[in-house]
């Protein structure tokens, strides 16, 4: 076989594989459409309440180790000032709420949690490292929860192994956190890789004949990684998909989005992927809605997190968006924990977490639930109050039930849980958009999260629809 022939052969095989893959995903998506609103796991546990998840304890054999009578010190860090504050502040609140509820219910194995902080990290690595070092060495915390930005997250993950503390970020999306093996870092929130793959699957679902794609994102690693994951996945599944436009917002202070909107509309892509956050997203939507952008372009966003900060002016009708969590999804009637969590949050802080802050709050809340469960699980195994590495071991493979649904912690410490993708709409009487119950898809983790030990770039480049077991 000559080189040319060989290339031709490979192409044919690839096309065949891709065809099969698309057929496969089509079938899967069709099936997921039929059984609304999906995930058997949720229906199975629909009777579990928040109180139960907090009060239930796993008790073990009589312990040779005694439980310390002092409170368990847990450090809480998050950016509370600067651009990361809209996520960091509600995140910290979610964590504090969890601690209060757990303490009301008697603490962890009877031991109260004492929060040290929340300490502002400004989202900067050096401040974050200072904060965690102080928490560990001055305050004696062995568990630290929180942080939003990737830069600080990477630095903390390194520090966690160096200083030996258990760390769960609020939401750090960068896939690079787990490029090296972490002993003490557990991420119970999604990554850019997973978000991008989910977006690609959703794109193929709502527009199976997609030919051209484009992106509009903030110009830094978060935006770039997310887009790479999306593009690689969709091109792996449909090699003839072309990129017609890549636009990057200036990172600091988007003011005028009109040139970007104009260019995107001029390029006429079938799908636009985007993962803008914070005040930039407000600016973009605010200016894109009246420009008629959403009427001409199919826009896919990863911001389906909390929509009650929005109205028709900042959020177009019929927008497709995805997330690992939404304030109203899992649906409150089917999944009471989410309802109770949100009601408790409003009761405690007077108002719901704003926009993306909802996800941060739920993440931090889940972190504490996971912590409690892991300590109890470890205590049951070792018979007594566990050491920090025993808690870390107990984390692996754990199923955590919380406002986000049911999530599993994998052996590589990554979160494994379903992604929610939906169309949003307005109904009369509700000022904010709601998830259209007829157009919700949840992608199981197997489809969206790169498996343990696999480099995410490789994985998305060779993305295939795998059989769901």
């Amino acid at each position: 076989m000559s080189a040319k022939d060989r290339r031709g052969f490979i192409k044919t095989v690839a096309a065949g594989v891709a065809g099969l893959a698309i057929g496969g995903i089509g079938g899967f998506l069709a099936s997921s459409m039929n059984q609304q609103p999906t995930t058997t796991a949720r229906t199975e546990t629909r009777t579990v309440t928040l109180r139960e998840t907090i009060t239930q304890t796993v008790t073990g054999a009589a312990s040779p180790r005694t439980t310390p009578t002092t409170p368990l010190k847990v450090g809480v860090i998050n950016p509370l000032s600067g651009g990361g504050a809209p996520l960091g502040d509600p995140g910290a609140k979610g964590g504090l709420l969890a601690v209060e509820l757990i303490n009301q219910a008697g603490g962890i194995l009877g031991r109260r949690i004492e929060v040290v902080g929340p300490i502002d990290t400004v989202g900067l690595p050096d401040r974050a490292v200072d904060a965690v070092t102080r928490l560990v060495q001055q305050e004696g915390c062995r568990i630290i929860i929180g942080e939003v930005t990737s830069a600080a997250g990477l630095a903390i993950a390194d520090a966690a192994d160096r200083l030996g503390f258990l760390w769960m970020p609020c939401e750090v999306w960068t896939p690079r956190v787990f490029e090296t093996r972490r002993k003490f870092t557990f991420r119970l929130s999604w990554s850019d890789a997973a978000a991008g793959v989910g977006a690609a699957l959703m794109a193929l679902r709502i527009k199976p004949d997609v030919r051209t794609i484009a992106t509009i994102n903030q110009d830094y690693a978060h935006g770039r990684d997310n887009w790479e994951s999306f593009r690689s996945t969709i091109q792996a599944l449909k090699p003839d998909v072309r990129v017609v436009e890549e636009l990057w917002f200036p990172l600091y202070g988007l003011t005028d989005a009109t040139p970007f909107i104009t260019r995107l509309m001029a390029a006429r892509p079938d799908i636009v992927q985007s993962t803008i956050w914070g005040s930039d997203r407000f600016v973009f939507y605010r200016q894109a809605v009246p420009a008629g952008y959403f009427r001409t372009v199919l826009h896919l966003d990863t911001c389906l997190t909390g929509m009650d900060g929005h109205n028709r002016e900042t959020w177009p009708d019929g927008l497709y968006a995805g997330s690992q969590y939404n304030r109203f999804y899992p649906p409150w009637d089917l999944w009471p924990i989410n309802k109770e969590f949100n009601e408790a949050f409003i009761r405690r802080f007077g108002q719901p977490a704003f926009a993306e802050g909802a996800q941060s709050a739920a993440n931090m809340f889940t972190n504490f639930l996971a912590l409690k469960q892991a300590i109890e699980k470890a205590a049951a195994t070792v018979g007594g109050w566990p050491e920090i590495d025993e808690v870390a071991q107990a984390m692996v493979g754990m199923r955590v039930i919380g406002p986000k649904g049911i999530i599993t912690i994998r052996e590589d410490h990554e979160f494994e849980g379903p992604q929610v993708w939906a169309r949003t709409k307005y109904v009369s009487g509700v000022p904010y958009p709601i998830v259209d119950p007829n157009e919700v898809v949840t992608f199981p983790a197997e489809l969206t999260v790169p498996p343990p030990g696999v480099a995410w770039r490789e994985w998305v480049r060779n993305y295939k629809i795998r059989a769901i077991t």
């Binding site: 300490i119 690595p125 060495q137 630095a155 690693a221």
Partner: protein
């Protein structure tokens, strides 16, 4: 400002401070050692900054460019080139920052006062813009890290056995000593002459543009060395080490300590780092007290902490 002619802090005070610094691992946590390392990094770059500001009269609002530049050279070589030998990293950071200073300085030293300030700000923000956006090389906002697995002439260096801390002290003392020598030399005196009266300095035969240029390049070099301390102290280098806010911090440190004294910036650095950290650990609203201190220094202690200490000593002697 006119420096009172007498002020030389008693040598004893410096010796005590040095002993405290050297003995720190025996009486404090390694958290405080990290803070001390950061303070030493700031001190190094502020001393270098003060060579331009306090001695030559050039106010730069772009010094983060050399400081962060040095830190980035270290982090880049560790992360992307696998160089882990500090005996290579340290001089390379200094030289990297020096080359940068040589390029920027060729333009900048022709300006004075506010124009010097603006042009240094412009260059540092250019570098920041590049580092931020060319993320394949620099990691973008994620930065570069961890700066770990370091060795010094084959010996493994880490904070666990305090060798990293002592290495930082070594670099810090080296910077301090060399800058001290420079300040005391004829060259240093010439710089002060330039600051006092530019026209007269030209008149007595000091080629002032050339001397300012030398001062700029030297300042860049030592800031680069300080950048290495920063990189090994924070372990993770992010673009904020190049941002103008950090340049403003350097100015603040120098004024806080007292720019009229050689050791002013050192005092300023330690006070700044500990203040900032204490405020941040106490409250989420840490900017308010810090800003208030900025302004209080301005109103009540214009000569900086060094002046306060000096006055105190004078009074105690009487």
């Amino acid at each position: 400002m006119n420096v009172p002619s007498l002020p030389r802090f008693p040598l004893v005070l410096g010796a005590v401070a040095l002993i405290l610094l050297l003995a720190a691992p025996f009486y404090t946590t390694s958290f405080n050692l990290t803070l001390a390392m950061k303070a030493m990094a700031f001190a190094g770059t502020s001393l270098a900054f003060n060579l331009l500001f306090g001695y030559t009269g050039l106010l730069s609002l772009g010094h983060a460019m050399f400081f962060g530049g040095g830190a980035y050279v270290t982090a880049y070589m560790v992360k992307r080139m696998g160089v882990q030998s500090l005996e290579i990293l340290l001089p390379m950071s200094g030289i990297g920052a020096m080359i940068l200073a040589a390029l920027v300085g060729a333009v900048a030293v022709r300006y004075t006062k506010i124009h010097f300030l603006i042009i240094t700000l412009g260059f540092s923000q250019m570098l920041y813009g590049l580092v931020l956006k060319f993320y394949t090389f620099t990691g973008g906002t994620d930065g570069l890290g961890p700066v770990s697995g370091l060795r010094f002439f084959g010996l493994p260096i880490s904070l666990r056995d305090y060798s990293l801390y002592y290495f930082a002290i070594g670099v810090f003392l080296l910077i301090t000593f060399l800058l001290w020598v420079i300040v005391r030399s004829h060259f240093g005196k010439a710089l002060q002459a330039i600051k006092e009266n530019t026209t007269r300095a030209t008149y007595v035969g000091i080629p002032q543009i050339r001397y300012k240029y030398y001062a700029f390049v030297i300042s860049g070099f030592f800031s680069g060395l300080a950048g290495t301390i920063w990189a090994i102290a924070t372990v993770h280098v992010a673009p904020d080490s190049l941002y103008w806010i950090l340049s403003a911090d350097i100015i603040f440190i120098t004024l806080l300590g007292g720019y009229a004294w050689f050791i002013g910036p050192i005092l300023g650095s330690f006070i700044f780092v500990y203040l900032q950290n204490t405020f941040m650990s106490l409250t989420g609203y840490w900017m308010l007290p810090l800003g208030a201190i900025f302004i209080a220094i301005l109103i009540f202690a214009r000569g900086g902490v060094a002046m306060l200490v000096y006055k105190y000593i004078l009074r105690a002697r009487r």
